[in-house]
Symmetry: D2
Subunit: 114 residues, 4 copies
């Protein structure tokens, strides 16, 4: 019986770093800094566009840049033993409560203004 | 037979937005901008620390902030039909090739310098 | 009688853009985005350092990266007719009030805790 | 005979920190991190806007946020003894050379493509 693919991926990343004895370099502040830098590279794909779309020809880079961000999210989660899936599901529980469909449909207001 | 938990989560987020007719607000540039802003909130947990650790008393906020980043990563992946698990596994394939254990163990150099 | 050097610089930048008819590209959101990207390049000079210092050999890049950030600060100030010197002096007026020397000396606490 | 207003401001900030003995807290990595966080606050003023303009009612915050960014730019320049005005003027010298008016007018292409 196999684990699910997300758990397999986080384990793979954990093992990759352990086998190379890299945890000594991976203090959490530098992980957070790397996360921020990769998020900026995603944002850079939209620099100077007028219509809120991605820069022409840059669609192919999105997958690569987004995977980089995802990597540092998992690295930080591993560092702090955070169950990302559970954490985000709990957030979605709250979101569904805060933004009931009948009130939030087609409305962009923050939930405090609904 | 149930889907794995990551797929379930991405579907849940997709449905959440569709039911509220929110895709009209979720142009990709603003998604990328939100991702960057949440990544900065993770980084803020380390502001002014000297030892590369998280600010005292802020460990409890990490789960919440990291889930926020994870949310926008999934939102962008949904927008561009990106399979995040597959994309990051492909990246790890390359990492394992670029950083062979025998050469990379305990070494922080970039692979081009190994 | 010559203007001071900061006013001369802001005027130079304003003229540079006007002569090239570039204001059509310089919507404020993209200016803010560019500011953020350049600030990230400053931060990148510190990636993976342990002692809170700049990466070895990167000191020479600081001047260049910081000038890039300064450029977008001035561009945004020009866009909104903000007098940066006056705005920051007013902020310093408040800082001097919030952090009196006798209380703040050698103390890193936020002023609300003094 | 008085110094120009930019030099006066940088000296004022230098004295403010020295009088409070705060340089011990102001390692350059945390200065760069603070710069990045404040740049993100500028960017946040544009979150979710569609037309590349600032969020309605947020114009009044721009002066304040921009002054915060300017503060950390000057703090880093003071730390590394960088003459910001000179550094940016040198950059403008190069820009004027790279983007001659006759070629660059109304054209947003990078100079390598002119």
């Amino acid at each position: 019986m196999s684990a699910d693919k997300f758990t397999e991926l986080t384990e793979r990343i954990k093992n990759f770093c352990e086998e190379r004895d890299w945890s000594q370099f991976h203090d959490p502040k530098n992980l957070a800094l790397s996360l921020q830098l990769e998020a900026s590279e995603v944002l850079e794909l939209f620099q100077w566009t007028k219509n809120n779309e991605i820069r022409s020809g840059k669609e192919v880079d999105m997958e690569d840049e987004l995977a980089d961000v995802f990597y540092w999210v998992i690295m930080l989660a591993n560092k702090y033993n955070i169950d990302l899936i559970k954490a985000l599901n709990q957030k979605m529980d709250k979101n569904e409560e805060k933004y009931p469909i009948e009130k939030a449909k087609g409305v962009s207001s923050k939930y405090t203004e609904l």
